[in-house]
């Protein structure tokens, strides 16, 4: 079983040119996928082809290039809608990434719907991108920001949920899969609880969409956001999915070209969805690249990717547990996505990462833009290995051996 999986992985890895390079004379072992994934040839080629053959602005000219660019751009939107099973591609808003998606909701829906006496509920395991926009807005609008705490095992502590989520709660915004703990949160339970008090739900899918099949209708989120660059696509683009009636009601985010129906000296009228939220020339090549990434992931199979990462995570959990002084943050493998954050004795995560880098192994070190999570564990930072479809059990073995080396060096 394991051998078969690794065979397929090796075949897939061959489609990622960067994985063929060496770092400090060793084969690159890329285990920083939760920060950003690598890109397959299919994505790189489609972007280059766009620039070489079809580059022009979208939704404007009637010349051939502009029509080709528009078709490529809008085809990607249709593919994205299919990928997350959105009812309509008009509900796929291209953003700059997850962060912009959350800020868009905060500045449009938030400004129109939040004020003194209202509450927004988030969790203690959020990425800064789902904390800071709400803190900024809270200071401007005067609502209350509350947090669902986490248990020592790194799961949401839902014992007080019926107090935290109440008639004043207008929005529940939470991370689908934690970028530090790996925890996959219980969406049905949370969404159902939010519905009971009439709160809207925003789900941060940055760490779930790349790694598991996603059906936004089944999840029943009001808003769902994610980034391209963590799912084999380019940087600079992401998606906001929203329920249609909400998106229709919301005021625009940024003003500019493409988002208007008509402009006079005194007033403007907004364009229809999704263009109302896409002011200015979008990241055309990147959107097209993201479309190719979705095709690639679909061909590989999201179910297979999820199963593969589960296998790797179980393997890594066991293997890393044997490293002296290593402490894993977060729940057991069955309850997490394909990443493991850890501390190693008293060694600072930067030093761990620097030692591993000399062996060609890329991991992340720091607070991973989630300081409140680390505060829970009373640590400033952690090291994190995160997997993707091209990683093998051999990568995990190399990681463990290098960690043992680091422990010896600093021990």
């Amino acid at each position: 079983m394991q051998a078969t999986v690794n065979d397929r992985t090796t075949e897939l890895a061959a489609q990622f040119p960067i994985l063929q390079r060496e770092v400090h004379g060793k084969r690159l072992v890329y285990l920083d996928n939760a920060a950003s994934s690598q890109k397959p040839t299919a994505v790189l080629d489609v972007m280059e082809r766009y620039y070489r053959q079809s580059n022009a602005n979208v939704h404007r000219g009637v010349h051939t290039l502009s029509e080709e660019a528009t078709t490529l751009y809008e085809d990607a939107r249709v593919r994205l809608a299919g990928f997350i099973n959105a009812p309509s591609d008009k509900q796929i808003i291209f953003t700059r990434g997850t962060t912009e998606g959350i800020n868009l909701v905060a500045h449009t829906w938030g400004r129109a719907n939040l004020g003194p006496g209202d509450e927004v509920l988030i969790t203690q395991m959020e990425h800064h991108s789902n904390i800071v926009p709400w803190q900024i807005l809270r200071d401007q609008l005067g609502f209350t920001l509350r947090y669902i705490p986490i248990t020592p095992l790194g799961e949401l502590d839902l014992r007080e949920l019926d107090v935290l989520l109440n008639a004043r709660t207008k929005l529940l915004s939470f991370v689908h899969a934690s970028n530090v703990l790996g925890t996959v949160n219980p969406v049905p339970q949370l969404v159902q609880a939010a519905r009971q008090v009439g709160a809207k739900v925003l789900i941060d899918g940055a760490q779930s969409v790349p790694h598991m099949p996603i059906d936004v209708q089944e999840l029943d989120a009001d808003f769902f956001v994610f980034s391209s660059h963590k799912m084999c696509g380019p940087t600079g683009v992401g998606v906001l999915y929203g329920k249609r009636d909400l998106l229709e009601e919301m005021p625009p985010f940024m003003g500019g070209g493409d988002m208007i129906r008509s402009v006079t000296m005194t007033e403007s009228r907004w364009n229809t969805l999704p263009y109302k939220f896409e002011a200015g020339t979008p990241a055309i090549a990147e959107v097209i690249g993201l479309g190719a990434a979705v095709d690639f992931l679909t061909d590989v199979g999201m179910g297979w990717i999820h199963a593969h990462e589960q296998m790797l995570t179980r393997y890594a959990y066991e293997r890393l547990s044997q490293v002296e002084g290593l402490r894993i943050l977060g729940p057991e493998p069955e309850k997490r996505g394909g990443l493991i954050a850890f501390t190693l004795g008293d060694i600072h995560p930067h030093d761990i990462s620097a030692v591993l880098d000399m062996d060609g192994i890329a991991i992340r070190a720091g607070h991973h833009c989630a300081q409140p999570v680390h505060d829970c564990y009373n640590i400033a930072a952690s090291a994190r290995a995160s997997f993707y479809l091209y990683n093998t059990t051999e990568d995990v073995d190399l990681l463990a051996e290098s960690l043992e080396k680091a422990h010896k060096l600093f021990g």
Partner: protein
Amino acid sequence: MEALYREAILDHYKHPRRKGHLDAPDIQYHDHNPFCGDELTIELKVEDGVVVDAAFDGRGCAISQATASMIMEEIVGLSVDELKTWDKQYILDMLGIEIGPVRLKCALLSLKVLKAGLWGLEEWPE
């Protein structure tokens, strides 16, 4: 590996010099590196423009903490005017290692804290 974590750096990291606090410091300054959360406090006693006692406290990676320890070994007996001449290159020469752009801030945190504490220069040293 040896290139970054040479013996002297590991020694300073594992056995930091002058780590702790002074009873009544004339100058005390604390700062951190927002990118990684490394923290550092430097305390000095200064008489007639000369450093007569020093201590540091902090937590962070081997590079940031070893640099602070190395600075402690050099700083006592030097005049504030001499300290003003310390720049990025001085610290890198003291460390004696090749250092990439990301870890550079780890190496320069102590100098940043020192300069901010001594004459209010709250910028990363050039």
